[in-house]
Symmetry: C2
Subunit: 111 residues, 2 copies
């Protein structure tokens, strides 16, 4: 039997940040564009944009800085706030998964 | 911002035990009957029975011992396996929530 854990952040009782957004923002950071990030996750641009916009509205803070034009038709990068949130949440997830492995070993041995 | 965590158990990639079943089995233990347990959780007997049966099938082990007849029309109690699973999962959840509070304090301070 395997122990699975999931973490997310809430503000005023509403989910504002989780694994999906973490992955999407990481891809934006890596690829420099929301459409490229969406594409790499087999997600439509509309879907990706919707997720970011919903999170921005709930957090009442921008997550992406869009810049238009130039070769490749513009792009996006993370705000300082988004970058900080990504780092913090990634650390939380890493530690949580390590701890879950220990808990599983301690409590699920032999079943 | 609040950190939320959720834990569940999987077997062969399928969810077999989580918070819902934990609560339901605890109520069966407390009330001695699946219909009373379902009722206390504002759940239909059909729904409760379905959840237990699904989990039993996935685990390939019985979780409840049903006994018919007598005053109140029979009842149910946990198998030793279900009781052990409940205890282990409850400990895992307790520890996980304590750890989540520490992680939140360490990583989410000031945002």
């Amino acid at each position: 039997m395997q122990l699975r854990v999931k973490a997310w952040l809430e503000q005023d009782g509403r989910a504002v940040f989780g694994e999906g957004l973490l992955e999407l923002l990481r891809k934006v950071e890596e690829l420099g564009s929301l459409s490229a990030a969406a594409n790499s996750m087999s997600m439509s641009y509309r879907e990706a944009w919707g997720r970011v916009r919903d999170a921005e509205q709930r957090l009442d803070r921008p997550l992406l800085i869009r810049h238009a034009g130039g070769r490749g038709g513009g792009g996006a990068r993370l705000t300082e706030f988004a970058s900080g949130l990504l780092t913090r949440f990634a650390r939380i997830e890493d530690e949580l998964h390590q701890i879950a492995a220990q808990l599983a070993q301690r409590h699920l041995a032999g079943i």
